[in-house]
């Protein structure tokens, strides 16, 4: 139905009037640079605050490029890839389809932060919610960068690399299968994201304009969550003594629990977590390390804040519970057989 006169948007700035807002944006950019340049070199603040802020910023600066990359890939799959380009290569059988989707990270290698906007983009493109969750959980583990760095860190020692790949694949498909049984999968999404999906279905305009609009939408959704998640991760680092966890390292059961807890709070990027945990390799048993390497990319405090932009609290609680139980069991099995 064509829109009525009253339904038409009243454009305050017609298409040719980019000049004024563009000049305004340029001034804003210059002002930001000037503020940064004129800021004090020394400021006497409490040491605990400095440490918290430095740790928070380090996670944020590390995550930001991956977030931007994830948003760009999200724009690519939503706006630029023609319908059917991805879908035509996926099997019709739901189980096989999810298995293939869990390997999409091999083509779109982004760490867990960037996968959130990308998973949102896949849902907006028409993927089902369980398929998107499968991708979200598998891609941070099953991607070439993570496999190469894990191999560089551990080689084939104790089968850690193989257990990580298998564990990530099985966990992602297990959670995907569980949610595929859900009678109304869209109820797993936050109402606001559901609304955004509905709005996206009817978006018109040039591809470039839609890309800029999509960047705004994803930035608005992800940035506040990223800042809060990074702040939580930074605060935990200052407040929780790591030596308390390391002390549990040689117990077959407690070592798994300790490194799972560390994975939940440390919020380190899956691209480099293998190098980080390598330094604990002599202290912890292989099962604990596998549990760390599988659980960390799936759930941690920063990632949960990001995922909250898309999924309800109830859904995230369930995913966390399943992931913790699965990786705990996986860690114990690895400790038994290695």
């Amino acid at each position: 139905m064509p829109p009525s006169d009253s339904a038409r948007a009243t454009v305050r700035n017609p298409s040719g009037s980019w000049r004024t807002p563009a000049i305004g944006a340029g001034i804003v950019l210059l002002v930001l640079v000037a503020i940064r340049a004129l800021s004090p070199e020394q400021l006497d603040l409490p040491q605990a605050f400095n440490d918290f802020f430095t740790l928070t910023l380090s996670v944020l600066i590390e995550s930001l490029p991956f977030i931007v990359l994830g948003v760009l890939l999200s724009i690519l799959v939503q706006v630029w890839l023609p319908a059917g380009v991805i879908e035509r290569y996926l099997p019709a059988n739901p189980v096989l389809r999810r298995a293939c989707i869990s390997l999409l990270g091999m083509l779109l290698p982004v760490c867990e932060c960037g996968n959130v906007p990308l998973a949102r983009g896949l849902i907006m493109r028409g993927f089902t919610v369980p398929e998107s969750i499968t991708f979200l959980i598998a891609a941070p583990i099953l991607n070439p960068i993570v496999i190469v760095t894990t191999h560089a860190a551990f080689g084939w020692d104790s089968g850690i690399l193989v257990w990580r790949i298998l564990g990530g694949f099985v966990l992602a498909n297990l959670i995907g299968w569980i949610y595929s049984r859900h009678p109304r999968p869209t109820s797993l999404l936050t109402p606001a994201f559901e609304e955004a999906c509905r709005r996206e279905e009817h978006t018109h305009g040039t591809r470039l304009g839609r890309s800029v609009e999509q960047f705004q939408t994803e930035a608005r959704a992800v940035m506040p969550a990223l800042i809060i998640g990074c702040s939580l991760a930074g605060a935990v680092q200052v407040l929780v003594p790591r030596s308390a966890l390391v002390a549990l390292g040689t117990n077959p059961v407690l070592s798994v629990a300790a490194l799972m807890l560390l994975a939940l709070v440390i919020s380190i990027c899956s691209n480099v977590d293998a190098f980080f945990i390598l330094s604990f390799g002599s202290t912890f048993l292989p099962g604990a390390i596998v549990a760390f390497l599988v659980l960390g990319p799936v759930v941690d405090v920063k990632l949960l804040a990001l995922m909250r932009t898309t999924f309800t609290t109830r859904t995230l609680t369930q995913i966390t519970l399943i992931a913790v139980l699965f990786t705990g069991a996986l860690g114990l099995v690895v400790n038994l057989v290695s």
């Binding site: 700035n13 340029g26 604990f280």
Partner: protein
């Protein structure tokens, strides 16, 4: 139009308010997305240009961060420079989705997942709570962005080293395995604290290092094993400061607490010797010829 749709419209109208508040919401929405990315990216680029990015991340990541931050600046400016579009809200519901811009209320829902305004949820308490949470989130993010913009970069302090247990991890990557070696003809001149600490930890006969010259810069942390010794410490960063691990070498220096505070940066020049204090954890420690205060290096970590 169904009754349910009517309720949603009414709820949405309440949430949107007048055209004026709609514009305010739209502007707020832009700034809480593109504005935040713009501030973060400008700061990241500033740190890159001034060489201070190494305080937060491994310098090996600089090209990637600089590239993606530059792209983010361009896209954020494009979002902020995009002409604003105002819609007449007296259109039919079927075209509600054509609102080109989301509202601050949407942000509230994306932050806390509340359904109240868009679905006509009658629970006013939840609406109020979600509104408060949304505003608090926006305020926190704005303050955080401002702090990032104006506060000077600071490296991690000795407090974090104590929390993380100096030498708690071994840090024997492939790279160090190849470079750290205990041999008569080994070249120790390029060794940093990371290599020295790894060598002492992995060697079964650290006594063979006795009389080997030692010089390094680090900060002072207290030794758990000897009151007469301190640990010359540096953080080793694999990727970013969140994974920083403190490594160090024990320096025998009775009365060090009267001369240096924990966290003070010093240059230690001396050689390895049998640890005089039998309670020390290692049979070998550094016998210093001099321990001099030194400014914090521009690059405070080892990588």
């Amino acid at each position: 139009m169904s009754a349910d749709t009517g309720r949603r419209d009414a709820a949405r109208d309440r949430a949107i308010g007048t055209d004026g508040s709609d514009e305010t919401n739209e502007r707020g929405s832009r700034w809480l997305g593109a504005g935040l990315i713009l501030v973060m990216s400008v700061c990241a680029l500033w740190l890159t240009v001034t060489g201070q990015l190494a305080i937060y991340v491994n310098p090996g990541n600089t090209p990637f961060i600089a590239t993606m931050s530059s792209i983010a600046v361009v896209l954020s400016v494009a979002v902020l420079a995009r002409p604003r579009v105002r819609h007449d809200h007296h259109h039919e519901h079927e075209h509600d989705h054509e609102h080109e811009h989301p509202h601050l209320d949407d942000l509230v829902h994306e932050v806390d997942g509340s359904t109240s305004a868009l679905t006509g949820d009658p629970r006013p308490t939840r609406r109020v709570l979600s509104g408060v949470l949304g505003v608090a989130t926006a305020a926190f993010c704005a303050i955080f962005a401002l702090a990032f913009l104006v506060l000077p970069p600071r490296a991690l302090s000795a407090s974090v080293a104590e929390i993380r247990d100096v030498n708690g991890g071994l840090l024997l990557t492939d790279a160090t395995d190849q470079t750290v070696q205990l041999a008569a003809d080994a070249d120790y001149s390029t060794y940093g604290l990371r290599e020295w600490a790894a060598l002492l930890r992995q060697s079964t006969h650290p006594e063979s290092l006795i009389a080997t010259p030692f010089e390094a810069i680090g900060f002072v942390t207290a030794s758990d094993e000897s009151e007469d010794s301190f640990v010359l410490t540096r953080f080793v960063v694999s990727h970013c400061a969140i994974d920083a691990q403190p490594v160090g070498v024990t320096v025998y220096s009775p009365g060090w607490e009267e001369r240096f505070e924990v966290g003070a940066w010093v240059t230690v020049d001396g050689s390895f010797a049998t640890a005089p204090d039998s309670s020390a954890g290692s049979p070998v420690s550094v016998a210093p010829e001099s321990v001099d205060p030194t400014p914090e290096p521009d690059v405070p970590y080892e990588y």
